[in-house]
């Protein structure tokens, strides 16, 4: 005889601390840490990680003054400075900082899921965090994204509890962790936008409507405050966050960009909100948006697989349809829903400003989205839930293995392998040049000091003046002319495009008696060895060193 139930088949109400649940979470922590540790250095550092080393491996004062010149809030860099001072700048050591936050996110997510929805949701959410290839990836990157996720989880948890029960300790927790999140990365702001919209557009409106009905007219301000007890702590919290963040917000928005203009005001050359790149424009970036979703769901893989997965967007329709019946119970979690509401907002913004469509920028928003997904899974019958979780773990492990060890990874940069290749084949008179110019911190990090490596072009930044062939040739003659063999390192996500950009450089070599002796293609990195078989020392120009 089959039985029927009126509510969710498992009791998903918050219960007293459960030792077994915490033991399970500890096991998840162990597994999550193991997955993160074993593949910690399986891939080379990419540019931003090298910049982290460059910006934090210096005196505290220098770290602060350097950060004060940039768009990034300072928390990550300051904490990282102490980490680097304590543990050094080895690849494993420097990445371990992100790993710590990534592992801490597992119990933090359990706490948030349990507090908002119940123990089952907490366990499902923690399991997702432990195995998620996307979160593992950013737990292994010497950047601030795993920190962002950690604070995103706590901010979401405390915000939901605050509006639900109005306890001061929860408002305090919300304020503290939101403050920390905002000072970790400026994209944390989008999470706060969702929370503000929820409070003003939902909590306050509902309460105002109720006060209006009671007073049968326009309620006085006092009545509104009385009816909305959370208004005062919310205002205090917002006042604190706004006043402390105002400086960094203005820096993010108005800071001068490399090519002139500011984040919002276009320069004469057309830059604006593009971090020095071309002006934003409306375009259909469906594939880019899809790629963000695919990365968040399944991690990072080879380009062909990723684009095939993006093309499987009809699956999303099926998922949306399946979820329809679960929306009603989720209405009770409006704060979490609204916190995640900036995800579509960012997708829309990305249609205007393509750079926004990078999955790392969504990581704070991944926290409430993940809690919602976990809540939905926890609402299904136990057998269905266990099936979903089991399949999810298997798929995640496969994805983790692929993203960690497959050399065709879409966003894997084989900079370490490129330098190793050069080092193995280097001869004393060889010269190394690299493009684009901003690879400098990376080359400084990996390249042995005894190998001369020059950034190209030598003049200008971001390759803006690359097409001025006179200046380019002048620099190449001074650097590469005196050498018999020159290594050219190209590193860029769209390596084909960079090859096009570096066309003039390559042409110079070919026109000046050099031939391509080796052409090593790695993931997003290319190493070309130009060799001049008719090497003539008389070609040397005076003063040919930099």
């Amino acid at each position: 005889m089959h039985t029927a139930t009126l509510t969710s088949p498992h009791d998903d109400r918050p219960v007293a601390p459960d030792r077994r649940a915490w033991i399970f979470v500890l096991a998840l922590v162990a597994v999550g840490a193991a997955l993160r540790l074993t593949s910690l250095v399986s891939r080379s550092m990419w540019l931003d990680e090298a910049i982290t080393v460059d910006q934090t491996n210096r005196s505290l004062l220098s770290v602060i003054t350097n950060i004060a010149d940039g768009v990034h809030p300072p928390l990550f860099h300051i904490l990282m400075h102490f980490w680097v001072t304590a543990f050094g700048i080895g690849q494993a050591e420097i990445r371990s900082f992100a790993l710590v936050w990534g592992v801490l996110s597992i119990p933090a997510t359990f706490w948030a899921g349990r507090a908002i929805y119940g123990r089952t949701t907490g366990l499902v959410a923690a399991t997702i965090v432990a195995f998620s290839p996307y979160l593992i990836w950013y737990s292994q990157e010497a950047r601030m994204y795993s920190m962002m996720f950690f604070f995103g989880v706590l901010s979401t948890g405390f915000y939901t509890l605050s509006v639900r029960d109005g306890r001061r300790i929860h408002w305090l927790g919300y304020t503290v962790f939101t403050f920390l999140g905002m000072f970790t990365h400026y994209f944390f702001f989008f999470l706060v936008i969702g929370q503000v919209v929820h409070f003003l557009g939902y909590e306050a409106v509902v309460a105002y409507g109720s006060a209006a009905r009671q007073s049968r007219g326009r309620p006085s301000l006092r009545e509104v405050f009385r009816k909305v007890p959370s208004l005062v702590p919310w205002l205090l919290s917002m006042a604190f966050l706004a006043s402390t963040y105002a400086l960094w917000l203005s820096k993010s928005v108005f800071m001068k960009q490399t090519e002139g203009g500011t984040a919002l005001v276009a320069s004469a050359t057309g830059s604006g909100l593009g971090y020095g790149q071309k002006a934003p424009e409306l375009a259909i970036r469906f594939n880019d948006a899809g790629l963000v979703l695919v990365e968040m769901l399944g991690g990072f893989h080879s380009g062909s697989l990723m684009y095939s997965l993006v093309a499987m967007w009809p699956v999303v329709i099926s998922v949306v349809l399946v979820l329809m019946g679960f929306v009603n119970p989720l209405k009770k979690s409006a704060p979490v829903l609204w916190a995640a509401s900036s995800v579509p907002l960012l997708f829309l913004l990305g249609q205007w400003q393509g750079q926004v469509l990078a999955s790392r920028y969504f990581i704070a928003l991944a926290a409430p989205a993940l809690l919602l997904v976990a809540a939905v899974i926890a609402k299904t019958p136990r057998t269905v839930m266990l099936t979903i979780v089991s399949i999810g773990i298997v798929v995640s492990l496969l994805a983790w293995a692929d993203q960690s060890y497959n050399p065709d990874n879409l966003i894997r940069y084989d900079n370490r392998e490129a330098v190793q290749y050069i080092t193995d084949n280097f001869r004393p008179s060889d010269v190394v040049i690299y493009e684009p110019v901003y690879l400098e911190p990376l080359m400084k990090y990996y390249m042995p000091t005894e190998i001369p490596a020059y950034r190209f072009p030598q003049y200008g930044t971001f390759g803006l003046l690359r097409n001025d062939q006179r200046l380019l040739h002048q620099d190449l003659e001074r650097v590469a002319g005196p050498s018999k063999r020159t290594w050219l390192v190209l590193s860029f996500q769209d390596i084909a495009a960079l090859r096009g950009d570096a066309y003039n450089t390559q042409q110079w070599f070919l026109r000046n008696g050099f031939t391509i002796a080796e052409d090593k293609k790695l993931s997003n990195v290319q190493v070309i060895l130009f060799e001049n078989r008719d090497y003539d020392p008389g070609f040397l120009l005076p003063g040919g060193s930099f």
Binding site: A4, L6, S8, F286, L309, W313, P314, V315, G325, T383
Partner: protein, 507 residues
């Protein structure tokens, strides 16, 4: 049953209108893209897609129009000590188990009204039912033949009774004592011919086919009938409905030329200048189909009845307002859903097996389709107060063979026979889902063949994803056919108290 609390109704209606407008804009953008921007690749497939999408858009537009204005009718409770009307309760019986009829009869006897006569209209006929009527002091009516099926049964009873109002209950629909208190007040206007109330399947707690059928019709008994109520285009649904006898008499009682006499009589009454009300309060608890075969049979009967009215009874010839015409048209349109869905099934197979596709710009397609689709879903979800389930969706779509068969038989077939949905026991046969199984096999084989032939590039995987989505939709009936009871787990937590107690009793 998608109840919207009175204090929420104004906001609910406003939001419905905003969402309907946004959905409409997205739909127009998508249709314009399909018509003027998309470059057809295979002309036949393009025309098929265009036709199916135009149909779906028309159906969606009809839904947006319907929910734009919704009316909650909650008549005042009459003081029966000051009125003189008499009421007959007709319980139509045709072979249902005695214990089921007994429950309905006992509940009907408890309906509060001082001048109530309860009748068992036994088309069986059965001595047990006769005895049951005698025991409970109810009237027992039977007839020598089964001419006119359920309509004929009721007409026979109408001749032999004389109550001012007639409450019609199927044998398995257990009424609440306040049924007449909540409905008779609606007859203050002489033009009101009948008052319809929702159908509610209480066996959805123990049978998942019934649960699916219940969820599938939830939208109809929620925003759709409330919308029809606002436009005076409420349909009778054959049970849980109170008729004014004089209105029925004015149109020659129940029409016996249709297997969906409820819809047919609604149309005839509209043409005669009568109107109807919908009271969205659950006042009777019935039993839904117990197995997939029963569900398909029920859907096919409704589809065939509706289509026969459309094709053979000239529904638009006279007497109905444009608003009513639109609402009846939307009702008829629903029965063509099977063709639209069959078209969607063909498209991925055509690409995966033959490399044929309807349009040349697959990357642009989701940009226009996804906003339209998501907004439509959000509107659907909101209109149902977010109680609409995936099961309701696939119960509609995966019934496509029943709809297509009903269409074919209504055009070419013999005169339809009224078949009562079995209330006794469920069948565990896979026979009713043969078409679904074959379709699943074709979809899976096409996906495998496409990947082997063309690799796993984006275009192939896009169609594989569509094929998988269809498999997900179709597989449900196969599972339910094997085990109709299964785990009748429900997402909806807001059950009425009486049903809640019933569930508790059953553990």
């Amino acid at each position: 049953m998608y109840v919207i609390a009175p204090e929420r109704r104004a906001t609910y209606l406003r939001t419905c209108r905003v969402l309907a407008t946004l959905s409409g804009i997205a739909a127009i953008a998508y249709l314009l893209w399909l018509l003027f921007v998309a470059r057809p690749d295979n002309t036949a497939l393009f025309l098929m897609l265009l036709t199916a999408e135009t149909f779906s858009l028309a159906q969606a537009a009809g839904f947006w129009y319907t929910i734009w204005d919704q009316k909650w009718t909650e008549p005042d409770v009459p003081d029966f000590s000051r009125t003189t009307e008499t009421v007959d309760v007709f319980i139509t019986v045709y072979g249902e188990p005695v214990e089921i009829v007994c429950k309905t009869l006992e509940a009907a006897m408890r309906i509060r009204h001082p001048r109530l006569s309860v009748w068992l209209l036994d088309d069986g006929p059965s001595t047990d039912i006769r005895a049951l009527a005698n025991i409970h002091g109810a009237g027992y009516l039977t007839r020598p033949d089964r001419r006119g099926a359920k309509a004929g049964n009721m007409n026979e009873a109408l001749k032999r009774t004389n109550g001012d109002y007639v409450l019609i209950l199927d044998a398995d629909h257990v009424p609440e004592p306040e049924f007449l208190e909540k409905t008779l007040g609606g007859f203050q206007d002489d033009k009101v011919a009948f008052v319809q109330t929702p159908q509610y399947y209480q066996n959805r707690l123990t049978n998942r086919v019934s649960a699916g059928a219940h969820e599938q019709q939830g939208l109809f008994y929620g925003p759709i009938l409330r919308g029809k109520n606002a436009r005076g285009a409420v349909f009778s649904c054959g049970t849980n409905v109170v008729f004014r006898r004089s209105a029925l008499a004015a149109v020659g009682n129940m029409p016996e030329d249709s297997i969906t006499e409820d819809l047919r009589v609604s149309l005839i009454l509209s043409q005669a200048g009568y109107t109807a009300l919908y009271v969205p309060t659950v006042l009777a608890y019935g039993m839904g189909p117990l197995d997939v075969g029963g569900y398909f049979s029920q859907q096919a009967r409704w589809a065939r009845g509706g289509l026969e009215i459309l094709f053979k009874r000239h529904p638009y010839f006279r007497g109905i307002t444009p608003g009513q015409a639109i609402q009846y048209s939307l009702g008829f349109l629903y029965w063509f859903t099977g063709f639209a869905y069959a078209t969607y099934l063909v498209l991925p197979v055509a690409y995966l097996v033959f490399g044929l596709r309807p349009v040349q710009v697959p990357n642009q397609y989701p940009v226009f389709f996804v906003p339209y689709f998501v907004l439509t879903l959000v509107t659907l979800g909101y209109a149902s107060d977010f109680r609409m389930t995936y099961r309701a969706v696939w119960f509609t779509l995966a019934s496509f063979p029943a709809f297509i068969a009903a269409f074919a038989s209504s055009i070419f077939g013999r005169t339809a026979r009224f078949v009562v949905t079995s209330k006794e026991r469920s069948s565990r046969s896979l026979r009713p889902v043969r078409v679904q199984i074959i379709t699943i096999v074709v979809l899976v084989l096409s996906a495998v063949y496409g990947m082997v032939r063309e690799g796993t590039g984006p275009s192939v995987m896009n169609n594989v994803a569509f094929a998988l989505g269809h498999v997900l939709i179709l597989q449900g009936f196969v599972r339910y056919a094997r085990n109709p009871e299964g785990d009748a787990w429900l997402a909806d937590e807001d059950l009425p108290e009486s049903i809640g107690e019933l569930a508790k009793e059953r553990g």
